[in-house]
């Protein structure tokens, strides 16, 4: 029982990180029908930027902000330069471009910062809370992660529901032609979507790094977990990615805890395949017609 509680707690905190990754994937999928497999690589780059700033004795919060801004810029640039040319082509082309970009970014990071893992600080203590005199697998940093991701989700929700920009973004995602006729600059909205999505990824990158060391491919498996979370949540709704993230976080925590960490990836893969076979459009989706 004690173990179970610990696994549950660590599942919740890592689930929130997967939810942030899933949110990044969902934002892009909704507007451009592209799964951005380069997202992990982009988050890795922004986290390395933060790490480089920290080495030059910049404060944590300044580095944190710079990493998020770098995510915005990187996302916008990627959409403009790499994704727009393949828009309207076969979806396979966009996937190949994203994968090519991913390994390019990983090699770039390896060339600049070296392949050996480096530590990354957490802004809050990583010592377990004590409940009734015994340590539980939940730290102040975990609490911060949970709150930060919830805040991110809340801001996104407010943005989409209650602001004019959010309305424009939703319009260009769901009916680009009509939106264009109504005077929405659809292309600009797509760029903004990519920027916000990459920023969500960058946030996840900053939160993962203190637990595992920072290395060029440290986000690879996180991306897969985030992808699984997005699929479980249905790829369409930001709220779905939150639930999906929690489901995956808990599932992986239990699998890793009870079966051994070698099976974490396999567990995610199995869950992914099962969800795709049983409910290909996720747990929270309506029935969709396929266009002839």
């Amino acid at each position: 029982m004690r173990l179970f509680i610990d696994y549950t707690l660590s599942g919740v905190s890592s689930g929130m990180i997967y939810a942030a990754v899933a949110l990044g994937l969902v934002l892009i999928w909704r507007s451009t029908r592209i799964l951005n497999f380069a997202q992990g690589g982009m988050a890795m780059i922004t986290t390395y930027i933060a790490s480089a700033l920290l080495e030059h004795s910049v404060g944590y919060w300044a580095a944190f902000a710079v990493a998020l801004l770098a995510g915005l810029a990187l996302g916008a640039a990627t959409e403009r330069l790499l994704i727009r040319p393949v828009e309207g082509r076969s979806p396979v082309d966009a996937v190949i471009v994203a994968i090519g970009f991913l390994i390019f970014l990983e090699a770039l990071a390896g060339a600049i910062w070296g392949a050996s893992p480096r530590g990354f600080p957490a802004p809050f203590s990583q010592v377990d809370y004590l409940v009734g005199g015994r340590a539980i697998a939940f730290t102040p940093f975990d609490l911060f992660v949970v709150l930060a991701v919830l805040a991110l989700m809340g801001v996104m929700l407010l943005l989409f529901r209650f602001t004019e920009v959010g309305l424009r973004m939703r319009a260009s995602a769901f009916a680009p032609e009509v939106a264009r006729l109504l005077g929405v600059r659809v292309n600009r909205m797509l760029t903004l979507g990519w920027a916000l999505a990459t920023m969500a990824g960058a946030l996840a990158g900053l939160f993962v790094a203190p637990a595992v060391f920072l290395s060029p491919n440290y986000m690879d498996s996180i991306l897969i977990y985030g992808f699984t979370a997005a699929i479980v949540g249905g790829l369409e709704s930001p709220l779905g990615s939150l639930v999906g993230g929690l489901v995956i976080g808990l599932a992986i925590s239990y699998v890793g805890g009870y079966l051994g960490s070698a099976f974490e990836g396999a567990g995610a893969l199995g869950l992914l395949v099962v969800v795709l076979m049983v409910r290909p459009s996720g747990l929270f989706s309506r029935v969709q017609a396929r266009r002839v």
Partner: protein, 362 residues
């Protein structure tokens, strides 16, 4: 006169696809043998690597170019072939090489079939995600089940008079030629046409009586079988099946080779294999400081950049660009030959016809 004509008929390039492909394979085999004996033993290990990459890339290219399914996990299928071969050899050291390779092909085909059943239900990006997950998970599982990262040793005993890498190259080249003849024939068959029918429009294909799911699974099995053979050859070349041989970057390298050579083209798979093997070697020579982090990461950076640039700028890859070049040249020659007609015919129409004709051959 009649004798001369008969001789001419005999020497003419055969019109039956199978005969033509076999004749081509014999010529290519002779050329490869000539190349192999005229270069060093070390260069022969590079030739063997090119041959096994050509097999894997050709298999992947038939899948993506055929049914339009993109797999980012073919490195994992190569691992299946490699570990199957190594396990078999570990427990039965006297099994002939050909049997071992066939077992590797069979094991990978079964794995590909299982994956194909899942793949047949998944649209493009979903499939890419699942296979990407597989490529990441496979090395971890291999480590867990097969003697951690030490892996399983594989031996190769060449005949007494042959140097080991020469022998390896001959085996790999023979496998590659056999696979290429089979795939070249497949491309001219009803099966492959049903592949492309499924790729272009699943609903139209199923209305025409093609079972979409069965076709996609078949394509996956075929492609996985090629990957399994390549994986077994890689294990033989590296004297063991170890998880370090099959990282995610291997799968991406296969995609790179396919994209650079030209998706769906067999000749393109050869171009791709040559570049995938030799670009790192050339870069090493250029940078000339093996310990620096730049040198360690340069090949991967170049592959990533090439994938992106080729898709954005030359979507047909090398083979597509060559074909277009040949078509343009032919059109010029034809127009130069008939100056009176040139202005009246629309160049676009003529180009399309020649393009279709030349695509048949590639």
């Amino acid at each position: 006169m009649r004798a001369a004509r008969r001789l001419g008929a005999l020497l003419r390039w055969p019109s039956q696809p199978l005969l033509r492909h076999l004749a081509f394979a014999v010529l290519a085999g002779i050329a490869c043998y000539g190349l192999s004996v005229s270069v060093s033993d070390f260069a022969n290990s590079e030739i063997a690597t090119v041959a096994l990459f050509a097999v894997a890339i050709a298999g992947l290219s038939m899948l993506t170019g055929g049914t339009g399914q993109l797999s980012l996990g073919h490195g994992a299928l190569m691992a299946v072939g490699a570990y199957a071969y190594a396990e078999l050899e570990l427990h039965n050291p006297h099994v002939p090489l050909s049997v071992g390779l066939l077992v590797a092909v069979g094991a990978a085909a079964v794995a590909g079939g299982v994956l194909g059943v899942a793949a047949a239900r998944l649209r493009g990006p979903y499939l890419a995600g699942v296979t990407l997950a597989l490529a990441l998970v496979a090395p971890q599982l291999a480590d867990h089940f097969f003697n951690s990262d030490q892996g399983i040793p594989v031996g190769l005993t060449p005949p007494a008079s042959v140097e080991s890498n020469h022998w390896l190259a001959w085996i790999a080249l023979t496998c590659a030629l056999v696979i290429f003849v089979l795939l070249a024939n497949l491309r001219r068959s009803r099966f492959y046409r049903s592949f492309t029918a499924v790729r272009d429009d699943e609903i139209a294909a199923s209305l025409a009586g093609i079972s979409v799911a069965r076709t996609q699974i078949l394509a996956f099995v075929l492609s996985a079988a090629c990957a399994g053979l390549a994986g077994a050859l890689l294990a033989i070349a590296d004297l063991g099946a170890t998880s370090g041989l099959f990282p995610l970057t291997l799968s991406v390298q296969l995609v790179a080779g396919m994209v650079i050579g030209g998706i769906g083209s067999l000749v393109g798979a050869v171009w791709g294999a040559v570049l995938v093997v030799y670009i790192p070697i050339w870069l090493d020579d250029i940078v000339n400081s093996p310990s620096s982090t730049l040198a360690a990461n340069l090949p991967q950076a170049v592959f990533g950049l090439l994938i992106v640039l080729v898709i954005l700028l030359v979507p047909g890859g090398i083979q597509g660009a060559l074909r277009r070049g040949i078509t343009v040249a032919r059109g010029r020659i034809a127009r130069a030959g008939k100056p009176g007609r040139a202005p009246t015919t629309s160049p676009g129409a003529g180009d399309t016809v020649t393009e279709v004709a030349s695509m048949d051959g590639g």
